[in-house]
């Protein structure tokens, strides 16, 4: 089965009967702008990590189309459960650079208010957010509202029992949930074929989920398919899964050394499928991308980078004492005692 594709690597647009999309200049400009800025942000975050301003960074480089094409197809009140690499997705919801960075600087456990952005905090334990999303969707169903729930995860996470429990449970309970897998070919050094024998979209169908395979580097295809599938779920069609074929163009994280396990050649093949270059080619061909817009975007990108760098350095560092009060709704006697001992000890250094 071929992934759904509207825009080929050279920027050739061919409409898809099953997945109609009104490809307007505005839509393209909006997606292009979001992807370009997301990459600027990602580049800057990488630089900040290299300079010791961040403890760790996991790049979304190469996965902008999968994240932005899908997020822009959702309604602003649809609730999203990210994994940990969905910075581009978070930006679509207006989460600020500071909010996106603080966890990776090590200043806080999470960076934003989920209820404000309808975007949950990151989940680093692979697949653990999938049962959460399933339960949240059970709640939506019980409330009788028409939001849908979307959960992002990677190819490697699909080997976890919790991922498959969620696929099965969501299908059996028929909850309004969209599973969105970014199959970026790698789980750190482990290739997808070590994780699974059959492609995920096939497995998902086996569970009774409506499942689709899409070219994750084709932002228009991702947007078209996600829009249609989201509408179907919203209409009571039951849970579905989208597998977006993409590529992790960077290492797994700033601690990773991909040179140990993959060839430069492989990276080059995927560079030719770059999601941004592809849309750019289309826009240039159609004359939808003039110098003015380019300059505008370059300026906006530079501003975002500068802003990112500034806020990163200024990220607030809370007080250790607050930790004791954040464990339970009411601090227990034990926690209070420990906090006071801690405070006394700190005080003792001063004098």
């Amino acid at each position: 089965m071929e992934p759904v594709q509207l825009l080929d690597p050279d920027g050739e647009l061919s409409p898809h009967p099953r997945w109609p999309l009104d490809v307007t200049p505005d839509l393209c400009r909006d997606l292009f702008r979001r992807m370009t800025l997301a990459r600027c942000f990602d580049d800057e975050a990488l630089a900040l990590q290299r300079q010791g301003e961040l403890g760790l960074w996991l790049q979304s480089l190469g996965q902008e189309a999968a994240q932005i094409g899908s997020m822009t197809a959702l309604r602003s009140d649809d609730y999203v459960f990210p994994s940990y690499r969905e910075h581009a997705a978070g930006l679509v919801r207006g989460i600020t650079p500071a909010e996106l960075l603080i966890q990776w600087r090590g200043n806080a456990g999470s960076g934003w208010d989920p209820s404000r952005y309808r975007f949950h905090i990151n989940t680093l334990v692979l697949a653990a957010q999938l049962p959460h999303a399933t339960g949240y969707a059970m709640g939506v169903g019980r409330d009788g509202t028409d939001e849908i729930v979307v959960a992002y995860f990677g190819d490697g996470a699909t080997s976890q029992g919790e991922a498959n429990e969620a696929f099965n449970w969501a299908a059996a309970a028929e909850v309004p949930l969209l599973f969105f897998c970014q199959n970026n070919q790698w789980a750190i050094s482990t290739p997808t074929q070590t994780q699974m024998r059959a492609p995920l979209h096939q497995r998902a169908r086996g569970f009774g989920l409506d499942a689709h395979l899409v070219d994750g580097n084709d932002v228009l295809a991702v947007h078209a398919v996600t829009s249609a599938v989201a509408a179907q779920i919203r209409g009571g069609g039951g849970p579905a899964l989208i597998e977006a074929v993409t590529y992790r163009m960077a290492g797994h994280s700033t601690s990773d050394d991909p040179g140990r396990y993959r060839t430069p050649g492989e990276l080059d093949t995927w560079k030719d499928r770059d999601p941004i270059a592809r849309l750019e080619a289309l826009m240039v061909a159609r004359g939808w991308l003039d110098d003015e817009l380019r300059q505008e975007l370059a300026a906006e990108g530079a501003a975002l980078a500068a802003e990112t760098r500034r806020v990163c350095r200024e990220l607030p560092l809370g007080d250790m004492r607050a930790l004791f009060g954040s464990v339970l709704a009411e601090e227990t006697v034990l926690l209070t005692t420990e906090r006071q001992q801690y405070e006394a000890l700190v005080a003792s250094y001063i004098d």
């Binding site: 456990g109 339960g135 019980r142 409330d143 429990e165 449970w169 339970l328 227990t332």
Partner: protein, 327 residues
């Protein structure tokens, strides 16, 4: 209220909580039509519907995981784990998610999920059906862990657990499900204690015997037997395992000067170790003997025919009491 079994006392507690708060949902394996293997949820699905009393797929990790999602959505799930030994598949969801979400969110996110676990031995069950795993959860920051020992506590503690904003591991001693007692019918009744308070269930002068759950009755019997020999044992039902009510505990030991802690779980790195270490810190100069621990042996729970020898009984409890006095 009439006299109720412990099982029925939780059942009425859940029913009351569901009437008081439309967000309370009960979920687990066979909790609906069957009413749970111990009948704790008997009749609830009939009266509240399948949307609030949910028969789930057979997957503990997702029972807790979806409960977390429901809690994030504003619901108050009560999960039933069918038997103590089957909570382990949900361990990652409990320890890394349920217990940590509040702290990970800087104290902003609440996940008020209550996990009910029928616990311990004494019912002649097969493997994995008689575990006492409270120490795992007590050692896990971010959880509240409580254990009822009789109908009165069972009824009110489950209702209190469903009023807080924190996750609660709620233990129910299997071998006491069918023991009966009168249950207070008003929260203002003096017998209704706060959730995190230990209770002196038998006052005594000579030695403090700390225990909880299924062992409370055993320890009361031991105290009665010792009384005949003129030894006055104070029995304290811990009720709350995390946090511990150290004030009540220490007050008792300061009075008696001796302490034995008894539970079904293996003693090594068990909750008794924490109690012993904490009591020793609080009452060091007052202790006339080290805090002695009585518990299950440090082996997996044995086949049913051996559980009478495995579970601390009146003799082993009194043996520890004797050793304390002989120290």
């Amino acid at each position: 209220m009439p006299v109720l079994t412990l099982s029925k006392a939780i059942n009425t507690g859940l029913r009351q909580a569901m009437e008081d708060d439309p967000k309370v949902v009960v979920m687990g394996q066979d909790v609906g039509g069957l009413g749970g293997v111990f009948r704790v949820t008997d009749g609830l699905q009939k009266d509240f519907g399948a949307d609030r009393v949910i028969d789930t797929p057979l997957a503990e990790a997702s029972i807790v995981g979806t409960a977390i999602g429901l809690a994030l959505r504003g619901y108050r799930p009560v999960c039933e784990i069918q038997f103590d030994g089957f909570v382990y598949p949900a361990f990652s969801q409990i320890v890394s998610q349920l217990a940590k979400i509040r702290a990970r969110s800087g104290g902003t996110l609440s996940v008020p999920v209550v996990i009910r676990i029928p616990v311990g031995g004494g019912i002649g069950a097969v493997e994995h059906h008689s575990e006492s795993n409270e120490a795992y959860f007590a050692h896990t920051a971010g959880l509240r862990v409580v254990c009822c020992s009789g109908p009165q506590d069972a009824h009110w503690m489950i209702r209190q657990a469903l009023q807080g904003q924190d996750p609660v591991i709620f233990y129910e001693p299997k071998r006491r499900y069918w023991s009966k007692a009168d249950v207070a019918d008003s929260a203002r009744d003096a017998r209704v204690l706060p959730l995190h308070r230990a209770q002196i269930v038998r006052p005594g002068r000579d030695i403090t015997l700390l225990t909880y759950g299924g062992m409370v009755q055993t320890c009361l019997d031991a105290a009665a037997a010792a009384a005949d020999e003129g030894r006055d044992i104070e029995v304290v039902d811990l009720r709350t395992l995390s946090p511990l009510d150290l004030d009540t505990i220490a007050r008792s030991v300061d009075k008696t000067g001796r302490c034995v802690v008894a539970h079904e779980a293996p003693t090594f790195a068990g909750l008794g170790a924490e109690v012993g270490a904490a009591v020793t810190e609080r009452c060091f100069y007052r202790l006339e003997a080290p805090v002695l621990r009585v518990g299950g042996f440090n082996t997996p729970y044995p086949p049913a025919k051996f559980e009478d020898q495995y579970l601390p009984d009146l003799d082993r409890v009194l043996d520890a009491v004797d050793r304390s006095f002989a120290w």
